[in-house]
Amino acid sequence: MKTLDKLSIGESGVVKSLTKKDLALKLIEMGCFPGEKITLTKIAPLGDPIAISISGYELSLRKDEASTVVLED
């Protein structure tokens, strides 16, 4: 199972599902919903959080939050 936190900078994926109940709605509202394409754009200097390009803008989130985003194989 490939998750968002496993991407490297510049790598893309398509959102398949969101695994954590209370985080899912927030992520969906921020434009991270099944079927959308994600590109990892930045990793913070200390390795966490990360930034992604989604729905036409840039969103940052922590790695443990990103690990709840499952990507299509």
Partner: protein, 671 residues
Amino acid sequence: METSSQKIITKPISVALLGNPNSGKTTLFNALTGLNQKTGNYPGVTVDKHVGVTKTADGAKLNITDLPGTYSLYPKSLDEEVACKVLLGDDIDVAVVVTDSSNLKRHLLLATQVIDLKIPVIVVLNMIDEADALGLKINTEELSRLLGVKTVTVNSRTHQGLDELKKKITEATSSENSFYDVTKTGELNNKEFKKIIAKQFENDALYNSKLNAFEEQDSIYRFNVINYIFAKTVTLPQHATRSFSDKADKLITHPIVGYGILLLVLFVVFQFIFFIAEYPMLWIENSFSFLMEKTASVMPAGQLTDLLVNGVLAGISGIVVFIPQIALLFFFIGLLEDSGYMARVSFIMDKIFRRFGLNGKSVIPIVSGVACAVPSILGTRTISNYKERLITILTIPLMSCSARLPVYTLLISLMVPDDAVLGIFNLKGLVLLGMYLLGFAATLITAFILKLVVKTKEKSYFIMELPVYRMPQWQSIGVIVVGKVKVFLWEAGKIILAVSIVLWFLSSHGPGDTFEKIELKYASSSSDPQIEKQMQADKLEASYAGWLGKKIEPAIAPLGFDWKIGIALITSFAAREVFVGTMATIYSANDSENVTSVREKLILEKAKDGKPKYNVAVCMSLLVFYAFAMQCMSTMAVVLRETKSWKWMFAQLFYMTGLAYVSSYIVYNLF
């Protein structure tokens, strides 16, 4: 024509302005209403209410409420809850949803939710210049048709489109279209979206769990509709250009350069609020001293004059003196927020700060705490997570502020000889540095403990937009600075004034006729300034403050403090630096402004056993006490104002005083 416009004039239109954070909503609000705005409170919550007034070209009056930034009508924060509840209320005539034209897809989510409430809506396509720059083309007519409401393109930077927006507000209608899947609402026993949303605040656990399942499906459904609308109305450029933001971020989030830039930014902010602010502050203090002298000389000597001069005017001076620091700090915070830099600070600092229950954005208020806790606490507004903001507020006053500096200087000069060195370092400087480090360590440790102790209802996550870099909007920042200063003056100011009058009374009045007796005793003496000083010292001792100081002596004796220090503790509750002045009065030193003259008196002071009273143990104990104790009514007033909670204000007073007491006790017994 005449009659219809008359009608509009007599009945102002109530407008709710809402949108995602970073939609440029507040800039638009400031562009629309300028300084015609007021900051108030939503009852029972810590969210500020901003209301402003503007008029259309036809003279119709618009009462605009700037709602807190909101991503959706399924609230996940206090801000969102407030915005949602206001929209559901009956007093809103028109909802204006502000969207970022260059980032339309996500911003349309909220727009479709608000449209589904079936209230009159206008959708603002803000920052149209940025969409143009990116090469995005938006077919606004088609967008209006698909949404079923009027849209207006606006550039709040150049005020382009504002008149059209105001005109369209007077013509707003609700949409015929719906954007939710009515077939999925069966479980909720309601087909109207407004009722579905309204019911989530009824604390019906069963309903809310059903709603939770609906919310996710609903949002995905909406985005699928939005994707369709987006494809129909927005033309993307052939080639995406690498924006300025991407290039800037290469440096700003760089592992070395990034922190270097942050240090530089902190340094500049610090310079301004610590050193540059000194000049206007001095000017304010001098003006007030002049005013006080003049008033005292013009009015007849007596109780009323004393109250006016040393109670009221001194109190107001103590409030107004904060304005330069507050204005400067908010100018910088506005600059950093508006430009998009603040989100990057969060991004590069989060990993360190989250361990302590703080937010990456806490870094600027905490560092500013070295200058003064008052503006810093007001500056925590940028932290959107309530728990992280609360912890930041509760720990900032532990940072060693500039008011502690005179106290530190006096005490260190008492216990460390001028020429003492440790290796190549001057020992005085080292001790002072140690005091600052002590404050910083206490801040972080306390934050860590609070992280484990404080429980909030709000869900905590980091998920946050990294907005593109933008040129700051000077007019908007100016409006915010003025608003913040006003809020401080009226809301914190009245508490500060009340407490300063109480403190004035305590130190200038005594029980019974004690004061008259002292005056009688010195009446026959010549007008020698030294005797005058001695009389002041006697009066202070005989005052209520003196009485209190003696009363608390048994409690503070274990820390090595006597009643004289007790008096200074009471009077310096107004502000820490008052300690030096009070000590000067008690010991009838020559010049209360001059640390050296107080120092000389204190060095000569002997304890009961004939040894110097102010030995290392007492000085260290006092130093630590002033490092940790609250001892600042202005800070307490802004904590009350920002947390809207007496509980947190008193909790902070007690743990800080407790920490000070215990630490001083330990230090006193160690040395």
